[in-house]
Symmetry: C2
Subunit: 669 residues, 2 copies
């Protein structure tokens, strides 16, 4: 807590100017772009100024310094607030040219803050509520890291600015509940309570007492005038002094500073226009041309940066003196690929030896035992399906409000909150998060999965019960279109392994990933081991490969994934008894196969007629099948019945595949 | 309110037996299936018995009687509760054979309650939280219908049973907020507060004070012992007497009646086993064999059915005497197809005459003016993007807690709650709901869209800003995989119109639908009218059609959707200057095209090389393109910039298409 004792609040006049600079840069940036949202940055300028000036600790010269405070602009449409502040703080990549190029092609100043586009952007926001939920993951990661390395190395805060939209979205409920339950006292959420949404006043659509709501979830709650610096500072002090996560409800005027438009929904999402901007300059007593900032203001903001630099220097000194320095650095490093590979090869050898007939969700647990032994900073969890997802390995113990040293999170029935929290944990650094639910409920967390993919965050989704093979729970729980919908998403590696060996390989890929999320689709039902011949090579990393060769030239190629590989093999056997040569291709990952060289893909797929087999809709199979090729799968929703009955009912059987293959072979000759 | 005065509570002994019958049927059904969830039905048997016995009004002989009370089992895994009650009430399709066949292929007794599978199932539940949110739509529809037709014809209640999972899910927040805001006093929610989730005690994952939370959302809140009939009855009385929606927190013991397993998470989702069931029979003093119900109990439940029948008879008499009877019936009937078609043909003729250059979101508003004039019971709305989605037509006025006669709903920033509420409104009957958001945020409501499709509920999703064409808001707001993810979903008609005429045709399809939801993908940016020659035929209903013919045999076929049709036409023009004959196919709906006869499809697609053009990923284009065909679209996420810059940046231009077409044509000859 040494950092805070050095805080020297700036004189009130300085803070007013500092805030005015944000307001003006925001309105000028939006005006230059002829597009954007001036209302939130102008309304939140005072809150943000007090927060950055007096409390928030970052060092623009070292944007990724591990013990920095995290700042999340959950109301992402107010991105100009972030860009303006980063410009004023002197982030090297946020010159005035960037503000001028707001929302233009190639600029760092994207319409919404994009992680990786500019220094200091902690997470991508814009889809409402995601920022809050991601920040919960960050604040949790801070406590977990603190429990492992102590106050000297880990002692920072997570601050979030959120609007009415963030608080109306369902994900905020999951996030707020989880934060209250885990008592994340290092999380402080500022609610931009401006009474305005796009459609008009908030009274159009909400009557909720937000303060009471947060209290019900176990939060510390305060309300302040969001334009009164001392009140804001007092609230932050009190929030920091309370062991619970804190809501600071800030009464603000949207677009404050715009003389005629402030306080109205017109200022939310459109440029103010020349006349209003000129009047605002007058009213704000800011005679400077667009994007010019007077020295006095620059100096005031530079002082904030200097405070951050001093904090970082102090931290570096503490770290140099710490016996834990090496372990701390190791926790932040990429996973040890060689160790992971070696352990997994050993595990695969054992499997090929023992031939376990297990569900791939069980095989996942077996592989996770290996992964978790190699990666001590892995953090497991499930959305209340631990025993079904098989996500908790031996020796894992729960993370609780009393013990952040645990490594397993009971996320509750909160798929969306879980996924966003995993994003936050991964973004924070120091941990390798994975979490489970049923594959059908990927839909419940899809907006957060999309952000994992868009940001390139290496989290792992463990999604079990991956087809009609789950049986009696019926169509609401049976994914049929889910695989296609996930394969459509850019930068997401979807893997549907066929047996315990492919599951092991899938986990190796997931655990080794550094800039891509991985989503594992795992069976509820038991499956035989199909990879009976041990290979050191990770064949799953090829995306698809020949699992079963034919003696002589192939008559047909059967391509299957997951639980349907067993069916393809049985069909090939049937065909063999009639002298027909079927090759079986196992295709656990379409994305990984697409990334293979063309000659490899051609060799795997061959020139014989092809049949695709997957207990799901055909969409997405186009890289394997021509339009004229056959597909054995689903064309609509599933049904409630024991799994074997369903496979027969929907015609996904070795008999059906073999019969179809024969007509194809005959049709060809 | 005449119904309630007739209520004659059964003697206490009867209610105990009535509840025991539910418990035993539930545990026996699950045991027979060797799969299912006995815990919730056994725990909720007392609450359900009091509710059905004393308050809830249904007539098993007329399961769809419009003024029946609605019962929603939001904790859908407890489906045996519903099946047991329906069996006991004497629903014609719920004989003991159905209970014996619980969760078996073809049985009405699916693992989770499936709308349309059995009489009296008001909505499909299982995905948690959906039941609550759908019930909000039902309760709102009741009030809206009441405002139009008065108490004599519309005077019913919506009752929901929900578990901890329902209340943890984010969608519950959106639903509860909306219900409180709209003061839906006819909605009564029983929370099965049993302290148990799948992972163990609720203390593992939640600390939220649910009662305080509901209070914060404007609900009336009570807590009772869920096994004390008089307390339950008293709470229902009080709930019905309060103008706010009501939460009744029912302290229950999960699996109550199972002597050794009750109160533990082991009873949640697995059969009790023979020994426990035998012991339960003893403890419950129920000597009867499985699925046998003694006459005394049958009679007690039959009395409930008789009360319902009497209520319905009284209602029929009131209706016969009502001047509004015909109008009421008309409001429940399917839309007037002929009137709709005639009005839309007229609208199309005007458009082909006036050639408006508008965004399809604006064209949608123009078409909606026509639709809303023909369908007086259409209910519009938006998730706080009214001005962007163009969903509010002239003369529409908001539905508020003080005026349910309105026809436009400000759903707030609650996409998921909106979609589920629309399901509830449509299921309730009497209204044609549509609602808007940005297409990228289809992800936020996808679980409810899936239920629209699974149930076959004719709601319309108005999704604007449908591509990178939205420009500066950037990749978080730009759908690239969203179209593919929605096209993958069975029984959902996705339409992406190219201009104002196709938008009109799309709306005609949506408004005429009776068992399929429709999702419209609409542009933010202006588009020229491409359907300059008026046709009375709804060409969009063909899914795809030749928009631009070539003189002589075609050299190439350019297939495009939505805003990219303009690009395809420009490319065809360029090619024509070089003497190359390009046919342009407009393909607004892949699902509708797939349903066309093969010869039509072949004629449209032709034999020349094909190029697909859509500002989205290629997945899903396989019915139009062979693997070797070219596609001009997106391969990853978008970017933040003005739309024209983005189209150029990602190479989706007429120049690029024309150049590609030339290489294809040359490669062929």
């Amino acid at each position: 807590m040494t950092i805070q004792t050095e805080v020297k609040p700036r004189a009130e006049a300085d803070e007013k100017l500092m805030a005015t600079a944000i307001r003006v840069l925001a309105m000028d940036g939006v005006e230059a772009a002829k597009s954007g949202h001036p209302g939130a940055p102008m309304g939140l300028a005072d809150v943000a100024t007090v927060l950055f000036n007096r409390y928030l600790t970052v060092d623009p010269a070292a944007p990724a310094w591990p013990d920095r405070d995290r700042f999340v602009m959950s109301a992402g449409h107010g991105s100009m607030l972030v860009y303006a502040i980063h410009h004023l703080l002197g982030y090297a990549d946020m010159g005035a040219d960037q503000l001028r190029a707001f929302r233009q092609l190639g600029a760092r100043t994207a319409g919404h803050p994009e992680y990786g586009h500019a220094q200091g952007i902690e997470t991508t926001t814009g889809p409402l509520g995601q920022g809050i939920a991601t920040a919960v993951g960050m604040a949790l990661a801070e406590r977990m890291q603190n429990a492992r390395f102590g106050d000297d190395l880990v002692d920072h805060w997570t601050y979030v600015l959120a609007g009415d939209g963030c608080l109306m979205e369902g994900i905020s409920h999951e996030a707020i509940d989880l934060a209250g339950h885990l008592r994340l006292g290092r999380l402080i959420l500022f609610w931009d309570d401006n009474g305005i949404t796009i459609d008009g006043g908030t009274e159009l659509s909400t009557s909720t007492d937000q303060r009471a709501r947060f209290k019900a979830a176990g939060w510390h709650v305060q309300g302040v005038d969001g334009h009164d610096p001392e009140a804001i500072a007092g609230a932050i002090e009190a929030a920091r002094g309370d062991p619970r996560p804190s809501l600071v409800a800030c009464k603000t005027v949207i677009g404050k500073g715009a003389p005629t438009m402030a306080g109205s929904h017109k200022v939310h999402g459109a440029p103010l226009g020349e006349a209003e901007i000129a009047a605002a300059r007058k009213a704000l007593d800011w005679p400077h041309p667009p994007f010019e900032v007077p020295d006095q203001v620059r100096e005031a903001w530079a002082q904030v940066a200097r405070r951050g630099a001093a904090s970082r220097a102090a931290w570096e000194a503490r770290k140099a003196a710490s016996a834990q320095a090496a372990a701390f650095d190791a926790s932040l490093a990429a996973p040890d690929q060689a160790a992971l590979a070696a352990a997994m090869v050993e595990h695969k050898a054992r499997l090929s030896d023992q031939l376990p007939r297990v569900a791939t969700r069980k095989a996942s647990e077996m592989a996770l035992e290996v992964v978790n032994a190699v990666l001590p900073n892995s953090i497991g969890g499930s959305a209340d399906l631990t025993g079904s997802n098989n996500t908790r390995t031996g020796g894992m113990r729960p993370v609780t409000r009393d013990d952040y040293a645990g490594n397993y999170i009971h996320y509750g029935i909160r798929e969306h909150g879980m996924a966003a929290a995993m994003n936050g944990i991964a973004l924070h650094g120091g941990f390798f998060p994975y979490g489970g639910t049923f594959l059908a409920f990927a839909d419940y967390c899809r907006p957060a999965i999309r952000l994992s993919a868009l940001m390139g965050v290496p989290v792992t989704y463990v999604m079990t019960h991956d087809s009609i093979g789950l049986g009696e729970d019926g169509p609401t729980h049976q994914p049929v279109e889910t695989l296609a919908s996930l394969r459509a998403m850019p930068n997401l590696t979807v893997i549907r392994p066929a047996d315990a060996v492919e599951t092991a390989e899938a986990w190796q890929i997931a655990a080794a990933a550094t800039d891509t999320p991985t989503l594992l689709c795992l069976s509820r039902q038991n499956l035989p081991l199909v990879r009976t011949r041990h290979t050191t090579e990770n064949l799953t990393a090829r995306g698809a490969y020949v699992l079963h060769r034919a003696e002589g030239p192939r008559d047909v190629t059967l391509i299957a994934t997951g639980s349907e590989v067993e069916i393809a093999l049985a069909a090939a056997e049937r065909l063999a008894t009639e002298g027909l040569r079927a090759v079986v291709v196992s295709a656990p990952s379409f994305e990984l196969f697409a990334a293979q060289p063309a000659d490899y893909r051609v060799a795997v797929l061959g020139c014989a007629p092809r049949i695709g087999i997957e207990a799901a809709v055909r969409q997405g199979w186009e890289q394997f099948l021509e339009r004229g090729d056959a597909f054995v799968g689903m064309t609509g929703f599933g049904a409630s019945a024991p799994a074997p009955d369903l496979y027969r009912h929907f015609g996904i059987t070795a008999e059906a595949v073999a019969a179809l293959a024969k007509t194809r072979i005959e049709g060809r000759t």
